[in-house]
């Protein structure tokens, strides 16, 4: 390695105070500058931050946006999620291959452009889409691909691809994205922002005691909007009551569940409300530090969000003595992720913030006792913080009026797939799937995936069920499938997703999902027997029961929920073997070689 590279890597480490816990910032910066984090760079980093080199390598090898071998200065990451596949992914993929003359996973011979697949990038409402470095290109067509590749070859600069900007803050000078918000339905809690006075929630919170703020959130019975639905006020209380350590607030903006993109829209249009919510939480819990964990795919929002934070600091809404309240100090930093779905799991997210592999942690201890750098930590979803602001501004009683008896407030739903108007809908809890389908223009829907791959696939019989915590709970992903879609192909893709995104820590998730996919494909190929359905069920339940974290525990859901709700799709494909041999076993093919040698047909298997 040249001396200059070593010096540059050293400089990056020094800029991060040679702090091991800032490993993500270090390796991201090295990757950006040198298109890889080479073995030599790993050695330099290890020395600088005083950690074993294998620890650095472990982190680098975990995230899909980092690599040890050099990639092009430009990396095209084409989103391969199911919605993109339904919208012409194959055609787009071929166009890229043809224009660049390379396959996926390869770099052009001049070393300039790499072509890769990536999981959901949060653009299902404008699919097919791709990330080109940090530039998002949406609604792709073969023509668009040709012009994209031409521009990249001519200019070498992805920013030159940006032409017609999206709506709202997508057109902001610091965002400049061709992304559209597609806000289809504004509800009372989050998107009714024009009716709210900025920072009124924060001002009202500061007029109360921290315990009163928590009580208000508890009275409103606000539950986590990320998917798990844990009561937010309780989480705050546990963290506040933790005895030792500096407390931390983390906002989970690692929106990775395929089919969800509502947090992206909040981050674009309502970052001020999000930061206001985090500040309220900081006051309530007694935390002086907040972290916004932003998924690597949303890096195009980084400068904009940083500036919003600066603006709040300038206005005295962040920093010391917030709004003139003596001793009230709170600030927020942004931690970038680097491509790992598992980091949406709160303890994996904390590991990532600490600069480690995104492995979930063992519980207990829970984050409220020992989270970020062993400090009491409270992790909430983007939407949850926004709800907090409305609750503090308008009161718990107002909030409780919205939604159902058990599930208060509204839910942001990211709707995509076979419908007329994909986009973000803010609807009160309690809406039925039928009502939702009417709203989004999907009269012919045959199946709906509620809550993304980790949620459940429901059939027409269940369309009268309601979206709320007690019935169909969801973090917000709603994918609609028309009657022409093959449900088992969808399931097959979801299993591929979980295999790729499993951290590999525990056996059932790491090895079980691979087997589940194999049995499923055996059935799809027409080689399955009725007993294979039992194997699927049994294996699926093992993965669900024995896996270590939420990802693993829900990773068999695509199979388990379709075995229940779409059983006929499986049963139509399996058949009892006639000759006592497994349908996947071709006796003639196996015998061929010996028959050739013997020069005659088998007596027993002719």
């Amino acid at each position: 390695m040249s001396k200059e590279v070593a010096t540059a890597v050293k400089t990056i480490c020094t800029q991060c105070n040679n702090d091991r816990s800032r490993m993500m910032d270090i390796v991201r910066a090295v990757q950006e500058q040198f298109s890889c984090v080479s073995d030599e760079a790993i050695d330099v980093i290890a020395r600088q931050v005083s950690t074993p080199r294998v620890e650095v390598e472990s982190t680098v090898s975990f995230y899909t946006f980092l690599s040890k071998t050099p990639k092009g200065k430009i990396v095209i990451r084409l989103c391969n999620d199911i919605i993109d596949r339904m919208n012409g992914f194959d055609v787009i993929a071929n166009a890229f291959k043809q224009e660049l003359g390379i396959n996926f996973g390869e770099t052009t011979p001049d070393g300039k452009i790499s072509l890769e697949h990536t999981a959901c990038i949060g653009m299902c409402d404008q699919a097919p889409a791709a990330l080109i470095n940090n530039v998002v290109v949406t609604d792709l067509s073969s023509d668009k691909v040709r012009s994209i590749v031409k521009t990249l070859k001519e200019t070498g600069d992805p920013q030159k691809l940006v032409s017609r900007l999206g709506d709202g803050n997508n057109a902001n000078d610091l965002v400049k994205a061709m992304v559209h918000n597609n806000i289809r339905k504004k509800g009372d809690v989050v998107f009714a922002f024009s009716e709210f006075t900025p920072n009124a929630g924060l001002e009202k919170a500061l007029a109360m005691s921290p315990v009163e703020v928590i009580n208000e959130v508890n009275t409103a019975r606000l539950r986590g909007r990320g998917g798990a639905g844990f009561p937010a006020g309780m989480k705050w209380e546990f963290t506040r009551n933790a005895e030792s350590g500096e407390k931390y607030i983390i906002c989970n903006a690692d929106e990775g569940e395929p089919g969800t993109f509502k947090d992206r829209v909040i981050l674009t249009e309502l970052p001020d409300r999000l930061f206001e919510g985090m500040t309220i939480a900081g006051y309530a819990i007694g935390a002086e530090n907040g972290i916004l964990y932003l998924r690597g795919e949303y890096a195009y929002l980084y400068d904009f969000l940083s500036q919003m934070l600066n603006e709040r600091r300038r206005q005295g809404l962040l920093g010391t003595d917030i709004l003139g309240k003596k001793g009230l100090n709170f600030d927020i930093r942004i931690q970038m992720g680097a491509g790992a779905y598992i980091c949406g799991e709160e303890t994996a997210l904390i590991s990532s913030c600490e600069g480690l592999r995104g492995d979930p942690k063992n519980r207990p201890p829970f984050p409220a006792q020992e989270g970020y750098l062993k400090n009491p930590t409270c992790v909430n979803n983007v939407e949850t913080f926004c709800c907090v602001v409305s609750i503090l501004d308008k009161g718990a009683a107002w909030f409780s009026e919205i939604g159902t008896k058990q599930s208060h407030g509204t839910k942001l739903l990211s709707v995509s797939g076979d419908c007329q108007s994909p986009g973000v809908y803010e609807l009160p809890f309690g809406i039925t799937v039928n009502e939702l389908l009417k709203e989004v223009g999907a009269p012919n829907a045959a199946a709906v995936q509620i809550g993304g791959p980790s949620g459940q696939m429901i059939c027409k019989d269940d369309f009268n069920r309601t979206i709320c915590y007690d019935d169909l709970a969801t973090g917000g992903s709603v994918m609609v499938f028309g009657p022409e879609r093959n449900i088992l192909d969808v399931v097959d893709y979801f299993m591929e997703f979980f295999i790729e995104e499993s951290c590999g820590y525990c056996t059932p998730c790491r090895a079980g999902n691979v087997l589940l996919k194999q049995y499923l494909e055996k059935i799809i190929d027409g080689k399955g027997e009725p007993c294979d359905l039992e194997v699927l069920q049994d294996l699926g339940e093992t993965v669900k029961t024995a896996s270590r974290c939420g990802l693993g525990q829900t990773s068999a859901n695509p199979i388990l929920t379709t075995l229940k709700n779409f059983r006929s799709a499986y049963e139509a494909l399996v058949k009892k073997s006639k000759d006592g041999m497994q349908p996947s076993f071709d006796i003639q093919a196996v015998l061929q070689e010996s028959q050739d040698i013997a020069g005659r047909k088998s007596v027993h298997f002719s």
């Binding site: 294998v54 620890e55 295999i499 525990c506 790491r510 024995a546």
Partner: protein, 233 residues
């Protein structure tokens, strides 16, 4: 205030000290909960999931879950035995395990657990992954074909030897054990006196030149199934 608490494992009342894990308390009470990644003196890790039990009906890893007064733990039930059997079979097919000529045969915890759970041969399809061997070190070799990713070596090297010879790289099915050097084990500071050399439950980290030293009939699990040492306490 007494720190002794009582709780139930499969209808048996068990005494435990506050702060113990369910697995530790069960061991002391002479109740065997099958495990692979857990080992005495190593920080609980919770990766293999073989020790999955139901605590008040909820699945938990016994090796990481602390005891609590009055909890009801299910261990030796048909459902849990089936889950453990599935997990052991998964471990067999995701690697390349050749018991019949493995140096660890008879002393291998994975093999012994398979026998204890009544697995003759895995029913799941073998994956036949391509995995690397590292025989560069004079006295020690790594055969990743037989690695079950239990992290015993990672923890022993870090916590007992005060080194950091091992750590995982990659994720999902591509996860592998790596060494603290650019390429090979011989470039690390491991040596034969390290605890990390002897903690491997399978034949993934072995000493050279001592294979098959113990004759058949005198190996650890030749006469009694794994877990008997705990059950006969």
């Amino acid at each position: 205030m007494s720190t002794t608490i009582t709780f139930i494992i499969d209808e048996v009342e068990v005494k435990a000290q506050k702060g113990q894990t369910i697995l530790e308390a069960a061991d002391e009470a002479g109740i065997y909960i099958p495990r692979l990644c857990a080992m005495k003196d190593l920080t609980p890790f919770g990766s293999c999931r073989v020790c999955t039990v139901l605590v008040n009906g909820r699945p938990q890893a016994a090796c990481t879950q602390p005891v609590a007064p009055g909890i009801v733990v299910e261990n030796n039930t048909e459902k849990l035995l089936n889950i453990r059997k599935n997990i052991i079979e998964m471990l067999f097919v995701e690697g390349n395990h050749f018991c019949m000529f493995c140096e660890k045969s008879g002393n291998c915890e994975l093999q012994a657990l398979a026998y204890r759970l009544g697995i003759d041969a895995p029913a799941f399809p073998y994956q036949f992954p391509k995995r690397e061997i590292d025989a560069t070190h004079r006295d020690i070799f790594i055969d990743r074909n037989r690695c079950i990713l239990c992290a015993r070596c990672v923890r022993a090297s870090r916590d007992l030897d005060g080194k950091n010879v091992f750590q995982f790289i990659g994720r999902g099915p591509e996860k592998r054990i790596a060494v603290n050097a650019q390429i090979k084990l011989s470039d690390t500071d491991i040596n034969l006196t390290d605890k990390a050399v002897d903690v491997c439950p399978v034949g993934a980290i072995l000493r050279k030149r001592v294979g098959y030293k113990v004759p058949v009939g005198q190996r650890l699990y030749d006469h009694k199934p794994i877990g008997s040492e705990i059950e006969t306490r």
